[in-house]
């Protein structure tokens, strides 16, 4: 029996002496996550089966949705356009990810950075770029051969750009993990390059492909920003839910659309989860890392491809930035900060920037605290096993819940005057809570992973040496976990800066954030200012990301113990 065996049952947990604390702490986290994610979603699910007066009506709402003219077409549009965008995204992202992980072409690191750039912008920023390029007064309008950008074309194109970095991240992670020995075995069996690709690379990346496809599908299916800028008269579920709730106050139909958004998302994440599990089983700890070989022909072709993709990404984003600097598109192309000046002069817009920063900071602070706590509870199994597993399960839920669904669930849950948390309604705090919940899964898993890497025996060693929790935290855990803390806080911050969907139902005039202000500007046909605002958000996100990166680097530099030689 090794010391690493983690025992269930009344094992003493280092630093938590009281039996009460050991139950109360996980219970507290379960309660917070329930209030912030599970109960609002449940409220939405319940609402889909109730009528306006709160009576149970079975599937009547769904029947009404399917039969009322014009409603169901949005579901069809969402399904087909998302499928098309997924196909295109994966078609572009796979060779791109392959090129940056499995070849020796030059500029792999730079291409990777460029591909990830859209992560730092709100989803609708590429939509602005497209408007300036292919819109009714766009430069390259002719390329669409008479088709209008506003509608399916715009939604698919912008979605591909928006989802591309996510697909590249998943696929390149899948492709980077592999076993060089299998390739050596294939060569020893006289398999040529193409045969090695088809018989080894492609099958070994199939789970990453499934993961990427399901994640991309959900991203596109549930995105609100893009169809609201370039959707034109094409209705999709994500914009319909907004129109139904905010425009028609038809909460029943809103709840039905919420369910329709939620179901495919949950299904896709289940697929993704299964795929990841299989992927992990495929890679053993003793694999030899992949060492790509030099193949000038292939590398050159892929370099050209990556150059085109990178040019498109930079072109679209650059076009949005350029458009924001133009005085009056397309009649007066003089450059200047006119649009930015107008934004900053407007009290409402200026406040929105402040709100965004406050939201991002609040989300980073609360989210990091909660994620570290729940990560610690799960990694160290603090409390009864059922409670620990329950907490882990709850933490996995938000990733599968579209922001729009979560936001509408908040409306149903917190609007109820009987809810003791009713007072949160209309405050910035509810936006923080919702954003923390929305992005909770990834940081929680980061915390669990990092704490699992830190041997449990370290806790015991500190305790055996008579260090209390505060002392051990300060002297051991804080320094060791510092880079992870920075990463988690950065993740929450950037996502809070750029998110729209979860907050669209929750903001008030006082708490409106910048990303929502962009939508409002689009609704008011002030595209130039909207592009300026989106650019500003991207700049702030880039700033935050740079701070995160340099802070992390500074910590790593200061912590000499992380270097092997020294």
């Amino acid at each position: 029996m090794s010391g690493a065996t983690v025992a269930a049952g009344p094992t003493r947990v280092p630093f938590i002496s009281g039996r009460g604390t050991r139950i109360l702490l996980p219970l507290l986290l379960v309660a917070v996550l329930s209030a912030a994610a599970i109960l609002p979603i449940a409220a939405l699910l319940v609402r889909a089966f109730l009528d306006r007066d709160g009576r149970f009506v079975g599937l009547a709402n769904f029947v009404r949705y399917a039969t009322e003219p014009g409603l169901a077409v949005a579901a069809w549009n969402s399904l087909t356009l998302s499928a098309l965008a997924t196909l295109l995204t994966i078609g572009l992202a796979y060779p791109f990810a392959y090129a940056i992980t499995r070849t020796r072409m030059p500029g792999r690191g730079m291409f990777r950075l460029i591909a990830l750039l859209p992560l730092l912008a709100p989803s609708l920023l590429p939509a602005f770029g497209l408007v300036y390029l292919f819109g009714n007064q766009g430069w390259l309008r002719g390329w669409l051969m008479g088709e209008s950008l506003y509608g399916p074309v715009g939604i698919v194109l912008a979605s591909v750009f928006y989802a591309f970095p996510h697909a590249v991240l998943i696929l390149s992670a899948g492709l980077a993990a592999g076993d060089q020995r299998i390739y050596e075995a294939a060569r020893a069996l006289r398999a040529g390059p193409w045969r090695r690709f088809v018989t080894v690379t492609l099958p070994s990346s199939r789970y990453a492909l499934i993961s990427a496809a399901s994640i991309v599908y959900v991203l596109v299916f549930t995105d609100f920003g893009i169809p609201s800028v370039v959707g034109g008269s094409t209705n999709v579920l994500a914009t319909d839910i907004y129109k139904l709730v905010i425009g028609r106050f038809d909460f029943e139909m809103g709840a039905v659309v919420g369910v329709l958004l939620l179901a495919p998302a949950v299904a896709a994440y289940l697929v993704d989860w299964l795929a990841r599990r299989s992927q992990r089983a495929m890679i053993s700890g003793r694999s030899v890392p992949i060492a790509p070989e030099r193949m000038p022909g292939r590398d050159l072709a892929l370099f050209g491809f990556c150059l085109l993709v990178a040019a498109a990404v930079i072109g679209i984003i650059g076009m949005a930035v350029y458009g924001s600097l133009v005085r009056f598109w397309p009649y007066n192309l003089n450059l200047g900060l006119h649009n930015y000046a107008r934004l900053l002069e407007d009290d409402d817009e200026f406040r929105a920037i402040g709100n965004s920063l406050a939201l991002a900071a609040g989300t980073a602070a609360l989210g990091t605290l909660l994620a570290m706590l729940s990560g610690w509870i799960v990694a160290r199994r603090i409390g009864p096993a059922a409670l620990v597993q329950g907490l882990q399960g709850l933490a996995m839920v938000p990733v599968a819940v579209p922001g729009l669904v979560l936001g509408l669930g908040y409306v149903f849950f917190f609007n109820d005057p009987a809810n003791p948390l009713h007072a949160l309604q209309g405050t910035l705090a509810i936006l923080v809570l919702c954003t923390v919940a929305h992005f909770y899964t990834v940081p929680h898993l980061m915390a669990v992973g990092e704490l699992l890497r830190l041997d449990r025996e370290i806790d015991m060693a500190a305790q055996a040496l008579r260090a209390g929790p505060a002392s051990a935290g300060r002297r051991i855990f804080l320094p060791v976990l510092a880079p992870t803390l920075v990463d988690i806080a950065g993740y929450f911050f950037v996502n809070a800066m750029t998110t729209v969907s979860a907050l669209i139902f929750l903001f008030t005039a006082q708490t409106r954030v910048a990303a929502i202000a962009v939508i409002n500007l689009v609704e008011g046909s002030r595209i130039g200012q909207a592009a300026a605002f989106a650019t500003l958000i991207m700049a702030l996100s880039i700033g935050a990301a740079l701070i995160q990166i340099s802070l992390r680097a500074a910590i790593l530099r200061a912590q000499r113990w992380r270097r092997r030689e020294g």
């Binding site: 029996m1 090794s2 010391g3 690493a4 065996t5 025992a7 269930a8 049952g9 009344p10 094992t11 003493r12 280092p14 002496s17 041997d455 025996e457 370290i458 015991m460 060693a461 500190a462 305790q463 055996a464 040496l465 008579r466 260090a467 209390g468 002392s471 002297r475 051991i476 320094p479 060791v480 912590q559 000499r560 113990w561 992380r562 270097r563 092997r564 030689e565 020294g566």
Partner: protein, 378 residues
Amino acid sequence: MAVAGPLHVVRPADAPEEGGRPAPSFLVTEGLTKRFGATIVVRDVSIAIGTGEFVCILGPSGCGKTTLLRLIAGFEQADAGAIRQAGRDITALPPEARDFGIVFQSYALFPNRDVAGNIAFGLESTGIDRAARARRVAELLALVGLAPHAGKYPSQLSGGQQQRVALARALALSPGLLLLDEPLSALDANVRAALRDELRALQRRLGVTAVMVTHDQQEALSIADRLIVMRAGAIEQVGTPMALYQQPANLFVARFLGDMNALPVEAGQGAEIRAAGTAFRLGAPVDAVPPRAMLCFRPAAVSLGAEMRGAANAVPARVVSAGFRGDVIRVLLAPEAAPELRIEAEIPSLRPVPVPEPGERVVAGVQPAHLLLLEGEG
């Protein structure tokens, strides 16, 4: 326990003398039981360990030995039973209120602290002044031979060096009890043997009571004053390494400490036993032959030769196979009167003996004193 106390602890009066029996009083467990869910991991364990004694808890993986150690440390709470250390009931105390130092299997060195920082960690919690702390760290560094590496971080050390840091850190607070959880199992064979002897010498010198968990019988036999052999959560036998090796209580203990031949007893009375179609004479007569009794002897107790044919304790057999093992040659034999049975013999390879050929007829002889009558495993 004085923190900056002398390193060379004077051996208390009740410490074990060479060859003498230890006074079992320092660490006592009574009826210790621990369950994880429905599984009983430690079952009614009562042991008594004397001051300055080095005790090894030995057993296969999953036998509950690590859990027993963690109960003694306080990382697990017992479901039943009591633990007393130096006369004090510590059953309910949390680890930080007990008096022990511990070396973990993973060493669990703090990765962000250098060697001196790891050793000083426990001292910093006690509030002794900086100069005394530095002196104590220097003493410990010298003790484990790591003075030149004081400023290195764990990731820059070899496995053996990390192990020494863990040991020095565990000894820093001059604990009365040193707990070791498979401390050598992560090391290469050579380093392992050297550190084992060092550990033993150090423990002797400091006079600290030590309890070590291991699954390696060689390690346990060579380091411990006494062994506790465990199986399925319960104690099988307690005794000195020599006693357990020579007089194991049952076949499990016998086989856990080394290879053992076991022939089913066909008939027997007094000192006369029949097994493998051969008459054997025991060193001393037994009152009654236990049910399912096995006649047991170690492979090294077997000598081969044709001259023993017809004598007592001589088994005519055919060589099944013979393998060179370095120091010895392992010969597998099938008794002629019971060809379905197997006897293993170990003959020294340094003596210029011819290696027996498969199929060759030989006679295997065992001295009466080397024969044991043990109850077989169900």
